[in-house]
Subunit: 412 residues, 4 copies
């Protein structure tokens, strides 16, 4: 394996092949292979297709192969989602010479095996969240990422909400001192798709595949956002209560809802509510962070808005202000439309592709790293252990290597 | 002491005295004595003055005496707030023959002594929340209330938010099955008056007077609302994290913020956030309750609204609906204005006076009872103990006598 | 008739009569007579009862008589609403020696006759809105007010929404330059009480009593608020479209909804929407005013809030801010509760009583004056004429005497 | 010219050329040529790239050429936006054999000439809004569309907001009787980009290029939405007031803001507010439509939501419900993400491409047609004439051929 320089191995061929059809750009290309073509596979495909048209990238992106277990479905997905070829085995994909980046959108129980093998094969890896279902897998992935990093191979976990402009702005307001010292963080992530008695059986209900229910699936986003916003702090101990709503004729082996109370190193209380059975909440990730200087509020169902209360104006006209995050100077907005023209869910994934590609081509480490993903899993694992021990307070294990949760590249 | 029949001892005199000035109504009168003339004293005074003009009551209300430690300030308060006389000692007030009802708005460390003495003197007692600072006081008060009840003497604790039309409607929607089985309750009560370094020293910072900081002052409302809405359920165990924000030069001995995680008898997780230092939140008691049938949301800063998500309409047009609680059929609205004409903070206290007077005159027990108030204190005490034991899970003691948290009279 | 000094003629008696019951205050008293005991009569009664307990007034208020056509109903109203006596003829009331202030809450077709006679009898007059149904009446009332003013007799028209803290703050933000030059004002006042086929027949549907339908009843508030906020400007010409929704079996002779387009002297477009048949809108007076410096938004169904967009903060954190108008420094808030404890509909009437009494006792002219009320009627009359002439543009007549729409006393 | 069958002339070549790179699909292809590469050019490019991956289309889309006046900038745009080639003259584009569809995103003063020539050359035409700056141009375009239609050539004007799921649902609620008979429509479209003294000189300020200022640019959307939602009704007469905010050193020859009052054939008042100088409003197209059965509200700054008030539930729990338009059954949502995952501004353009392509391939007429676009221009022209005649009421001319404003294909 040779140290990568940030230029794709497959850089020349596609550019040559494209020369008859469009003006040559002289840019090298990165070959992409995507594992999985479900919901996340479709969203990632959109992002790979779209990022080069929205942002200036130093290379082209060749969407070379998409992979799924069923050959015919994978072929159909390739046509539908814009990939040049299809494959039915991920081992084949990670060995292909025309692949520089492996994007893992398979169910979480497969993340570890694929990521470790892909990194060993010298491929940059973007892995969907959660990093893994087990801490063991996550540790192995982190170790693989560490070794690969020394070879110039990059790895990142797909906590996409970090790339929402509103939350990226929230982080700026924490870093520039506007918010001051955090005093309280409460977040919830509520959905209701599992409410009905007739909800389709999903792998999300199988702990062997989906991991720890709502806690694992939704809670991990909240833990990651805590680490993103309150960089430098960490959740030291947690107590967790879970509930399972068992409709007649339907046994579920994972939690449908959970509440997690955490205590951070800096002494602030952190509480998280997650649920798949909260009627009326469709994709309601909401977050409140009060600091010594200002308070922030966010609601994913109004994802283009961030609310800020600050005493930077006279007391008589203070109030929570609803900032529409669509100005040219807001994070990631340089790639999009004039003020007031909203972004949607998939835009964060376009930003994720942009940032990951910039990391790969600049030989810089992207964030959130696998270490960040491991840190999240350690909190989830502690919460799960807490619930299994009667909700007892449970220490969150320290990861072997410190991770600061910081982005190396940030766009303003 | 004789058993009261619900007719005030002072019934005749004021009617006679008033005869030359207004058409005699023939109604008996209840003589009221108010202990305290601070913020709550002013609000209660408003309620005593206003209730007879908004609702049909079976008796007149004679605002006979207001009591404060400083004689001159009490006299001024009498003039300002509409009381016939002033007193500087509460023992004098509870012995006066022209007093049927003692309304206790003194700081909480005095509640126990006054209430026990007043009940012993045969007076009906309305006591501001929290019932007491210590479980010991609360137990003594409950025992006094039990003994007095046998003599027809009524007692009630002033958890006023039960009388907000929006929350009274919420309870109806729980009782009539609209909400179904509760699955999750999260509530927060956030204020920011203690934010600044220059906040005036208040008795609320003295644990000997104000009790358990934000937890005691604000959290007790949330515990009471849980008991009100989820009647029949109880919080069995709690874990609590507290924070104190110590600004330079200002030592505070009580918590400024707290988070409480509770587990209910029916297995639902309950979480509460309270704070006096949450910038931008002025009086933000917010509550979310998801049930198997519907979800509710409430925000005290928009107290005339209740949000309901229910699948009683087709899936294509479902959504949280913002109900403006101002229709003639809504709880307590018969006393007020046409639809869309909003109520304010003090209206809940007018409703409280109405309901308490109806209880007294109909020889029925009002709610929330002292037992209800004790039940709240037991949760707060467990939370306080939890914090003092490193946030350990702490069982909530059972009160000596069961209380179901129900209203005996409800208005629709 | 003698020139009043601002001290009530009835000042001594009530104080003496009250002396045995409460500490004497030595303040003179003003005797109040209220004509009408419907919805507005009840709200005004509340205000007269409450104002002295919320604000420092230089005199006592003696609620001496309430008047209604039916003697028994008037007597019941006196008891219910807190008046010392009842009367069935308004001519008797305005001649009574113990009456200093006549408060007119009769239907609008009676305003003129009562007000003119009361002023001639030397009584200060507070007259509910609209000032009158006809410009002729309004002119006569204005002339009577002018003559009385020379004798120290005060008069005011009850456009209560000027006394909402949020709108009083809006005016401050216009006066202090925050908003800059107004560029656009759109306001709507929507209700839905007349929607159903079974709505009770109300005098509001009788043009001989209620005047010009929704346009007259609701539109007049919007015209008054334009004059209040954009003081110095005036609506010069209007075009008006009206609609009547005639349900089967129910003939209505007045408009149910109207739209008014106006052009102001300063060149800004002004548009008003009013309706009694707008489903879901209960009392929705909403107002948007954009200026060269900032923009304001208000919604009466969230009357404790005012929204402000101003570029007084950096472009990256700008947004409409929801100001909760409940701070001690906000208009009228000195009389009420701590921050975040909301006010209701009737509070504006308490403020109105406060301001009117301060005017009467300080021998200053209150606002809005009868001239202000006339100015509103001239716009409504022009709009009515417009509709009757095929919505043609119609000039708004100038009142005989200029009125600047300004308050003489304002509380901050 | 032969009658088109809905299969692109260029159908075989691209499929063959693509065969080596991706699995052959056997689908024919349509060749697309885009005129213009500014803001709208970028949005349309995104839509052409994305539609085939989000929706099932019966053909492939070959993005063959993008056209701009400056050759180098056009070439750069081709690379950035994903087109196979660039051209600097639109006449060349409309004659190319590999072009089936001409998509016109040039400034409006060029729409007429390009569209007429493209239709004459046998190309299907999608033309950005407004259809034209002058009624003369619009008439010529409509005539050209009529002639082309007989040859199977399709044409459509790009009023994209019809394809927002929330507004498409609004239309369904009007068509299925939920809303009942419309009684009032008020809409506003406010922006603030022209506020500052330093706003860049844009062609939007040049009446020769951009047409009638805010009225033409923003107002046309509102007129089109009225026609879309209230299909069958028409605006018969209008009165219009305009304002121009002339900052020092900056002469603008078009209106910055306008208010339009219209009277519809069915007798309902329609009012529109538009502005480019309304501080704080970024892209605020808001719409309120009250009907005899229900009321609707929409705000483009929260474009994934539609508010509905309906009495389909008991009076005690009625309220405006905030419907999150993200369910599988909502219009266009089959192409996107699970419930609660929001769409952005550009999604409506993807839907527009989908619908236009389905029309072209099924030989059905798309909507809004050029006749619909003409009908909008006639209202704008009448409004402009009104303003030039002192805001006089002005009749809206009838188009030569009736247009019902209906979609032929609608997706649910």
């Amino acid at each position: 394996m040779t140290t990568h320089t940030g230029i794709g191995k497959t850089g020349q061929a596609p550019a040559a092949g494209a020369a008859t059809r469009r003006p040559p750009t002289g840019k090298p290309a990165l070959g992409i292979g995507l594992i999985g073509h479900g919901f996340m596979g479709a969203v990632h495909s959109h992002a790979w297709r779209t990022a080069p048209h929205s942002f200036e990238l130093p290379c082209k992106l060749s969407m070379n192969v998409i992979c799924g277990r069923d050959e015919e479905r994978a072929r159909n997905a390739a046509v539908k989602l814009g990939w040049r070829s299809a494959a039915s085995g991920w081992r084949e994909v990670i060995q292909r010479a025309d692949i520089d980046i492996v994007d893992i959108c398979a169910p979480p129980h497969l993340h570890g095996e694929i990521a470790v093998a892909a990194l060993a094969a010298g491929k940059h890896v973007l892995c969907e969240k959660p990093l893994a279902n087990s801490v063991g897998d996550a540790l192995a992935m982190t170790e693989a990422a560490r070794l690969a990093r020394a070879q110039g191979i990059r790895s990142m976990v797909g906590y996409n909400y970090r790339r929402l402009p509103a939350l990226a702005l929230a982080r700026q307001l924490l870093r520039d001192g506007t918010v001051g010292d955090p005093r309280r963080l409460h977040a919830s992530y509520l959905q209701d798709w599992a409410c009905g008695p007739d909800v389709a059986q999903s792998w999300r209900f199988d702990p062997g595949i989906g991991g720890a229910g709502a806690l694992g699936d939704l809670g991990c986003h909240l833990v990651d956002l805590f680490r993103y916003l309150c960089a430098g702090d960490r959740i030291q101990a947690v107590a967790c209560v879970q509930t399972a709503v068992r409709d007649p004729g339907q046994q579920r082996d994972v939690d449908d809802a959970a509440v997690l109370l955490g205590l951070s190193a800096s002494g602030i209380p952190v509480s998280f509510d997650v649920s798949r059975v909260a009627r009326g909440y469709k994709n309601a990730l909401r977050l409140e962070l009060d600091g010594s200087g200002a308070s922030l509020r966010f609601d994913l169902e109004r994802m283009n808005e961030l609310q800020l209360f600050s005493d930077d104006v006279g007391v008589g006209t203070q109030g929570f202000r609803r900032m529409l995050i669509s100005e040219p100077g807001h994070p990631y907005l340089s790639g999009w439309w004039p003020p007031g023209h909203l972004l949607g869910f998939e835009h964060a994934f376009v930003h994720q592709v942009r940032d990951f590609v910039l990391s790969v081509t600049s030989a810089a480490d992207p964030a959130p790293s696998f270490e960040d993903g491991l840190a999240v899993q350690l909190v989830i694992a502690a919460a799960q252990a807490s619930w299994e021990c009667g909700s007892a307070w449970t220490q969150v294990a320290h990861p072997p290597v410190a991770s600061d949760g910081n982005h190396r590249q940030e766009q303003r």
